[in-house]
């Protein structure tokens, strides 16, 4: 028996209609009887639908053959990269010497009107917004003045609105840290409008929501802050941005804590610790532990608070930031204070206050001073409170912080000197100092006193 030629078997398997009907019948009969030809035939007929479908899709071949979309996008990416390189060069001198007048002149020049300049200025603002918010504001203002004059169609997909949104967002961040809350809301309105023009972008609107939550929080508008924080958290979850989702969750828990509900805030902070453990993020573990410890203090669980504070402290001592380390040391000192070991607490609190002063964090130094005052009040040592208040008064004066805080400290001194200072007075001064840090124009009003004949 002669076998069917391989080519004919291939044709029979793949294009049977190309073979005459009689010959097809012969091949079929032969293949049924001949194992060797059957195997060859099977080889040609092997099919796998997924495989065939994927082979027929153009983008399977894209890495080999390219595509119009790939070419267009890579050209665009090259343009972005070139803009960034040019901006790096032309902005170097100005970013190193950020004088506002120079920026005003600079941004009116044509060669500075590029997306690269906006990106570079946004990045510069972001880099210094925590340490030098005033300079960040200068950068953000310059970025806005460039971004707003770029043509709407300079980039595909209306992407120029991304840059505008980002510039307004950077401005709001600086304003938040400068305590310019109404202005920050206005900047966020602009950012929201810009981001809203690009339907593909969900991230920008979530960033706006998170920042707005922060502004409301600082303003003490806690309900509105909570609404925004929840919105941001959902948005980041939608965008798969786990890091920022945790930022939003942390803020949400902080708002809950600030609203006087440590019991509801606590599980959120514990979720943040868990997230830190799962992602091996020492920073999240430390921040979550610190915040959870504060909740436990308010709940009266001093033992658990101490464990959590010490866990946070290990990380902050190793990695910083210094502010968080000091806040944690302060927390531990408060645990000692509330535990009734007043002398030990006073010693620890004095150390913390001195460090805050060294770092020029004068409001925190004053708040620690109020904790010391509580301990001294309990020990009936008002003269030392007078000295402490006098010291803090000069700290504020030397720092140029001529705000209502000075009146509050003067009140502390006078009340202690007159031996009529109460725990409620200290609490009222504490609440005022915390608000005055965010709102420097706030005036101190002494707490009301019951009529003399009622006590």
């Amino acid at each position: 028996m002669s076998h069917i030629p391989e080519g004919e078997l291939a044709l029979y398997a793949l294009q049977p209609d190309a073979i005459a009907e009689r010959r097809r019948a012969d091949i079929e009969a032969h293949v049924t009887a001949c194992a060797e030809c059957q195997a060859t035939y099977d080889f040609f007929t092997v099919r796998e639908d997924d495989f065939e479908e994927a082979l027929a899709e153009a983008d399977t071949w894209e890495p080999m053959t390219g595509s119009a979309t790939f070419t267009t996008l890579m050209d665009y990416g090259a343009r972005i990269a070139q803009e960034d390189r040019d901006a790096e060069v032309i902005l170097k001198e100005y970013i190193e010497n950020p004088i506002r007048a120079a920026w005003d002149a600079l941004t009116s020049r044509r060669r500075f009107r590029t997306g690269g300049v906006v990106r570079k200025l946004n990045a510069a603002a972001h880099a210094v917004h925590k340490s030098k918010p005033r300079i960040a504001l200068t950068f953000a203002d310059a970025a806005i003045s460039v971004a707003e004059v770029l043509p709407d169609d300079i980039y595909p997909a209306r992407a120029v609105y991304q840059l505008r949104g980002a510039a307004w967002k950077e401005r709001a961040k600086a304003q938040l840290l400068l305590g310019q809350f109404p202005q920050a809301h206005d900047s966020l309105d602009h950012a929201e409008r810009a981001y809203g023009k690009t339907p593909h972008n969900s991230l920008g609107l979530s960033l706006v929501a998170l920042l707005r939550a922060g502004v409301f929080y600082e303003q003490g508008r806690l309900d509105e802050a909570m609404t925004m924080a929840e919105r941001a958290e959902r948005g980041f979850a939608h965008a798969g941005d786990e890091k920022r989702r945790m930022d939003a969750a942390f803020l949400r828990a902080s708002i809950t804590f600030e609203a006087g509900d440590p019991t509801r805030a606590l599980p959120i902070f514990h979720r943040i610790i868990e997230h830190g453990e799962n992602t091996k993020s020492a920073d999240w573990i430390a921040l979550g532990s610190y915040a959870a410890a504060n909740c436990e203090v308010d709940r009266g669980n001093l033992g658990e608070a101490s464990v959590l504070f010490h866990r946070a402290l290990r990380t902050f001592r190793e990695r910083g930031p210094e502010r968080e380390r000091l806040l944690t040391e302060w927390g531990i000192a408060r645990v000692v204070l509330y535990g009734g070991k007043l002398a030990d607490a006073i010693r620890r609190l004095r150390d913390v206050a001195a460090e805050f002063e060294r770092c020029e964090m004068v409001t925190n130094a004053a708040l620690v001073g109020l904790d010391i005052s509580d301990a001294l009040l309990a020990l009936d040592r008002p003269t030392e409170i007078v000295d402490l208040a006098q010291h803090l008064f000069s700290v504020f004066t030397n720092a140029g912080m001529l705000t209502g805080a000075l009146s509050a400290l003067a009140y502390l001194k006078e009340a202690a000197a007159a031996k009529r200072l109460t725990k409620q007075d200290v609490a009222a001064i504490r609440a005022f100092l915390r608000r005055a840090e965010r709102q420097p124009s706030l005036q101190f009003v002494p707490p009301p006193r019951p009529p003399a004949d009622s006590v």
């Binding site: 080519g7 398997a13 793949l14 294009q15 080889f43 040609f44 092997v46 997924d50 495989f51 065939e52 994927a54 082979l55 027929a56 899709e57 153009a58 983008d59 399977t60 071949w61 894209e62 890495p63 080999m64 053959t65 390219g66 119009a68 979309t69 790939f70 070419t71 267009t72 996008l73 890579m74 050209d75 665009y76 990416g77 090259a78 972005i80 070139q82 946004n122 990045a123 980039y155 595909p156 997909a157 992407a159 991304q162 980002a166 809203g196 690009t198 339907p199 593909h200 972008n201 969900s202 991230l203 920008g204 609107l205 959902r234 948005g235 939608h238 965008a239 798969g240 786990e242 920022r244």
Partner: protein, 176 residues
């Protein structure tokens, strides 16, 4: 416009090219399979999502989820089901931007197939591309390559079989 194959110097940052090659197939699949958008209509959406990302990449931490969220928003916007804001904040629970398991599986297969096609040799690659993508008949291929149609058929089958075997082997071998 003549498409430029990846791997040639494009001037775009390598991270852009990598992001595109890794995620573009997934974005297309989501637009087409999850939202029922025609293939040709999905392509501009994919383009716009990447263009938006390239323009302000510094704000993006998680590129993959960001792009997936982007294509979901773009697809919803395209379908005019909701406006942009509702696409982002759609109720109490996060929008289901996560692609389905079957889509992820398909994309994984495609990425495997891409790696495989890069390795099977230029002759096989050329034949398979002509036949499957360009839709050329075996006779047209034979004419272009100056071969007999029968030879083309045999080569095509052998290339397919070789590719399929390699494909199965790669599917079973965990990626390193």
């Amino acid at each position: 416009m003549t498409p430029a194959p990846p791997g040639e110097v494009t001037g775009a940052p390598a991270s852009f090219e990598e992001a595109y090659l890794q995620f573009a197939p997934l974005l297309r699949k989501i637009a087409v399979k999850k939202y029922g958008i025609p293939v040709a209509e999905a392509e501009p959406l994919v383009h716009d999502v990447f263009a938006t990302y390239f323009t302000n990449a510094a704000d993006v931490i998680e590129v993959g989820p960001y792009l997936v969220g982007g294509i979901c928003n773009a697809a919803r916007h395209y379908l005019r089901r909701t406006d942009a804001r509702d696409a982002l904040f759609c109720g109490e629970t996060p929008c289901a931007a996560t692609p389905t398991e079957s889509i992820l599986l398909e994309v994984e297969r495609k990425l495997l197939l891409r790696r495989l096609l890069a390795r099977i040799g230029s002759r096989c690659r050329d034949l398979l591309q002509r036949y499957y993508v360009a839709g050329e008949s075996t006779r047209a291929i034979a004419d272009a390559l100056r071969l007999k149609p029968m030879t083309v058929l045999i080569c095509l089958s052998k290339c397919r079989k070789r590719a399929l075997a390699a494909y199965h082997a790669m599917m079973e071998t965990p990626r390193t």
